[in-house]
């Protein structure tokens, strides 16, 4: 059974009353199998972020259905939705989304602690995941004391610690320098390959995207094309560049900053 199924997703911004309505997503379909590492790419305004918000249950589709692990999200409301989110999904955001007032360790522990897991399990799992992500040494630090790359690893650790069905990453390398970005992507690749984590990543950066196994391109709210990676990452990277220029190099803003 696929981890994620999105069927005929449509999102229209602006209600009946407002004069301007924008169709951000138009009957979009997406299926992610267990253990996949999928990238979503597209120019600004193509609907990437909207898609991720719908999949992340942060926003509601105008029509269409989302199934995670076979369960439909349609009937969930309020607390149910929040509980669903924290049990089944893991998030990595461009802005890290860490709490300033908590150390990295405490940040990573939050999802498990909220679930009421015993202290021993929290410690053990935090140590294990921190070691795998190479941040075991800085666990006692506060976010402002560490680098962007370390922050994003901590965010990744938090997204993974409760072993969610699906990890949603929104421009995870957007605020990182190229070295830190590469290193983070290698970690995610490893987590996917060795740990079997299922990852869906929205990105703008062709280099980061080249770590994915499959890339779904999106334009004007509709699927544009799909690429699958072979064994050679460099070749995959060039394929991605080709698709991007085909989508319209001019409209593709390389210095794009989110929001």
């Amino acid at each position: 059974m696929p981890v994620l199924q999105a069927q005929n997703l449509t999102k229209i911004y602006g209600g009946q009353r407002s004069a301007v309505t924008v169709k951000a997503l138009d009957s979009f379909n997406l299926t992610v199998e267990k253990g996949e590492f999928v990238g979503i790419m597209g120019p600004s305004g193509s609907g990437k972020t909207t898609l991720l918000q719908l999949l992340g249950t942060i926003d509601v589709p105008t029509s269409g259905e989302i199934l995670v692990g076979g369960q439909s999200l349609a009937g969930l409301k309020g607390d149910q939705l929040a509980l669903f989110r924290r049990r089944n999904l893991g998030f990595i955001f461009q802005d890290f989304n860490l709490l300033d007032s908590l150390t990295l360790k405490e940040n990573i522990m939050v999802p498990l602690a909220l679930e009421g897991k015993p202290a021993g399990e929290l410690e053990a799992r935090t140590q294990a995941i921190a070691k795998r992500l190479g941040i075991a040494e800085v666990l006692q630090h506060y976010p402002y004391q560490v680098s962007g790359g370390q922050k994003q690893r901590a965010a990744a650790a938090r997204a993974l610690i409760h072993e969610p069905a699906l990890i949603l990453a929104d421009e995870p390398t957007g605020n990182l320098d190229s070295k830190a970005a590469r290193s983070l992507m290698e970690s995610l690749e490893r987590l996917n390959a060795e740990g079997g984590a299922t990852i869906l990543m929205v990105t703008h950066d062709p280099v980061s995207a080249s770590y994915c196994k499959r890339i779904q391109f999106i334009k004007d709210g509709r699927p544009f094309t799909e690429l699958r990676r072979g064994s050679d990452q460099a070749a995959f990277f060039h394929q991605i560049l080709d698709v991007l220029s085909a989508m319209g190099g001019e409209s593709y803003d390389l210095t794009y900053a989110r929001r």
Binding site: G56, R85, F91, M109, V110, P118, A119
Partner: protein, 637 residues
């Protein structure tokens, strides 16, 4: 686009931050003006107010002014902190220091004049109510009339213009000293948690032991001298207790992993640890303000309630009239008493010689002299004592008995020496053999001599003594007798008859006690509202920092009820840790003052503390609700 325009736009767009500062300033002006109006009210120096009230009011006004300064400064620094990023952005865009300070000054002028205007307006609106309350407290037949004093307006205006100008200058200095980068950093930079130091913990323990040690042992004579050291030690100790104690508490909690890592506790405790220094300062301020409020109100409430007892202690005889006032013959007194239906239980007229003093040659100079209120003959005195049902005085160890209401050094000496020779001013030597702690004639001291000795004294007059079945019921009669006597005798007239009565004393001291209680309540209410305001600032300043935090958590899937739990535990600590300490301090104060003044007991203090805690709890519930709502109001991104 002028600087005025930008200033106005700023005020409009950051309404919430401005509002908090504006209303705090308004509140400070309001309270200050209300008190200034009373201070400059012509009636204050009139007959209805106890003597020295003007001085006392000036003192309270200074207290209110100090409070206003601290309060407005705190409000402004909180307000400025919330806007550091905006100010830095303006500088980044090329605004010069001069322009920036002008911008800030312009804002302050706008808000300051608004606050002064509104505060004085509120003050005027409430002045009438304030005066009416005061008239009731003083039990005046005619309420104190409304009076707009320009001095009060001038004083308020002057004081607050000074405060606002000082603030403008200080913030100018602050901006000049810090660069743009620092401003940005200050807005974003989280504070590091303070470290505990064993020396500070030790200092904390030492100061607290000193403070409470003094509270538990200080005697009445040394109280005035020890008051300031005691309060300083208490303040320092409390401050250290909250700074060091909260760090220690957080450390301890973090060590208990089963507690620490349990669900929302992780968030609660981690955030506490992070904000511990900030919190400690607020906790300290609230603790001190609440301590003062509860203690002062409790003590004066105590005095107010004990007025009746005190009246009976000072005037055990329900009515004494010295001398024979013209037109106020004993028959007239009896007639008035009958008119009011007062039941007389015992009555006597005793010949007495007024005044004089005893000088003991054998005693050290500083207590060798004892003033004597009245000199009385033995046989009449014993008859009166018999009427009161007390045992008679026997002059078998000398030829005079000294009666004192209270113990003093002279009494100690007499007890040790036995009978002692003394010079009775104007009538030669006398041997004082008997000494009693008793007051059967409403005098602090009296001397009973043999009838023969008494016959030799000159200037004898009469003392009319009455005891009633119920002195409280006799109060109107006494007030009438007094006013009839006072009407007939010009105040300066030397032989004006003195009249004392339990009911009269009660009437007068109830007025005074009521007045002091009113002042205490005013200060208490002021500090209570001040505490509430500080907490409001603290919370809603944090809101700016907290909201993104809880939004982050929301994205990860925290439930509203979990947010509520985290916020509840944090605010609970913030509100009630200092309150608990304040209540404890208030009872320590009862312990201390109770040793000096027997009338002070814990029950009135408990009533005041309960009232305070109840109001505070109400404020807590409302604030928490508002805060959680504000926190959860913004939808997810």
């Amino acid at each position: 686009m002028s600087i005025w325009h930008i200033a106005w736009q700023n005020v409009r767009h950051q309404a919430r931050s401005y509002m908090a500062f504006f209303f705090s300033s308004t509140f400070a002006v309001w309270m200050f003006f209300l008190y200034a109006s009373l201070l400059y009210h012509p009636e204050v120096e009139g007959p209805h107010f106890p003597d020295g009230v003007k001085t006392l009011l000036s003192g309270v006004e200074i207290l209110v002014a100090l409070f206003a300064v601290v309060f407005v400064f705190y409000a402004h620094s909180a307000f400025l902190k919330a806007r550091l990023r905006e100010l830095a952005t303006l500088q980044l865009l090329g605004m010069m220091h001069r322009q920036l300070t002008r911008l800030l000054a312009t804002e302050l002028i706008l808000m300051g004049s608004g606050a002064i205007g509104l505060g004085v307006g509120f003050g005027l609106a409430f002045l009438h109510l304030f005066l009416l309350t005061m008239s009731r407290v003083l039990r005046l037949d005619q309420p104190i009339p409304f009076h707009l004093s320009w001095e009060a307006v001038g004083l308020t205006l002057g004081a607050f213009v000074l405060i606002f100008v000082t603030i403008a200058l200080l913030s100018r200095r602050m901006l000049r000293r810090s660069g743009i980068a620092q401003l940005f950093a200050a807005a974003a930079k989280p504070k590091e948690p303070p470290a505990t130091s064993p020396w500070l913990v030790l200092l904390c323990l030492v100061t607290l032991v000193c403070a409470y040690g003094m509270v538990l042992t200080v005697e009445a004579e040394r109280f005035a001298r020890l008051f300031l050291p005691m309060m300083s030690a208490l303040a320092l100790g409390t401050y250290l207790l909250f700074t060091q104690g909260s760090v220690a508490l957080v450390k301890w909690l973090k060590g208990r992993r089963a507690i620490y890592l349990r669900r929302t506790n992780l968030l609660t405790i981690a955030q506490l640890a992070y904000k511990v220094r900030d919190n400690a300062r607020i906790l300290f301020l609230i603790a001190m303000l609440s301590t003062i409020s509860i203690t002062v109100m409790g003590l004066f409430y105590n005095l107010y309630l004990s007025t009746a007892k005190e009246a009976e202690r000072i005037n055990p005889i329900h009515l004494t009239i010295a001398g024979s006032p013209a037109g106020m013959a004993p028959e007239r007194v009896t007639a008035i008493l009958r008119e009011h239906g007062v039941q007389v239980v015992a009555q006597a007229t005793i010949p007495a010689v007024g005044g004089g003093g005893l000088r003991f040659a054998d005693l050290p100079a500083n207590y060798a002299h004892q003033a004597v209120g009245w000199i009385l003959p033995l046989s009449d005195m014993n008859r009166w004592l018999a009427a009161l049902g007390r045992s008679p005085i026997a002059l078998d160890r000398g030829d005079a008995a000294l009666l004192m209401r209270q113990e003093n050094r002279l009494m100690e000496e007499l007890r040790r020496h036995g009978p002692m020779e003394a010079e009775l001013e104007g009538s030669g030597r006398i041997t004082v053999g008997t000494y009693l702690m008793d007051d059967p004639i409403n005098q602090f001291s009296a001397l009973v001599v043999t009838d023969e000795q008494f016959a030799r004294l000159k200037g004898a007059t009469a003392l009319h003594l009455y005891r009633f079945a119920d002195w409280q019921a006799a109060q109107p009669a006494l007030l009438q007798i007094r006013s009839e006597i006072l009407d007939r005798w010009p105040p300066a007239f030397a032989s004006r008859p003195s009249i004392r009565g339990t009911g009269i004393f009660f009437h007068e001291s109830l007025q005074a006690a009521g007045f002091f209680l009113f002042l205490a309540t005013f200060v208490g209410v002021l500090f209570f509202l001040g505490s509430c305001n500080l907490l409001y600032f603290k919370l809603f300043n944090d809101l700016m920092e907290e909201r993104p935090q809880f939004r982050s958590l929301g994205r990860v899937g925290i439930l509203p009820r979990e947010v509520r739990r985290v916020v509840s535990s944090q605010t609970l600590l913030l509100f009630f840790a200092p309150l608990l300490l304040a209540v404890f301090n208030a009872f320590m104060a009862v312990q201390m003052f109770g040793r000096m003044e027997a009338t002070i007991s814990w029950k009135p203090m408990a009533a005041i503390a309960l009232l305070y805690v109840t109001l505070f709890t109400g404020y807590f519930l409302v604030t928490r609700r508002t805060y959680v709502r504000a926190l959860l109001s913004q939808p997810l991104p």
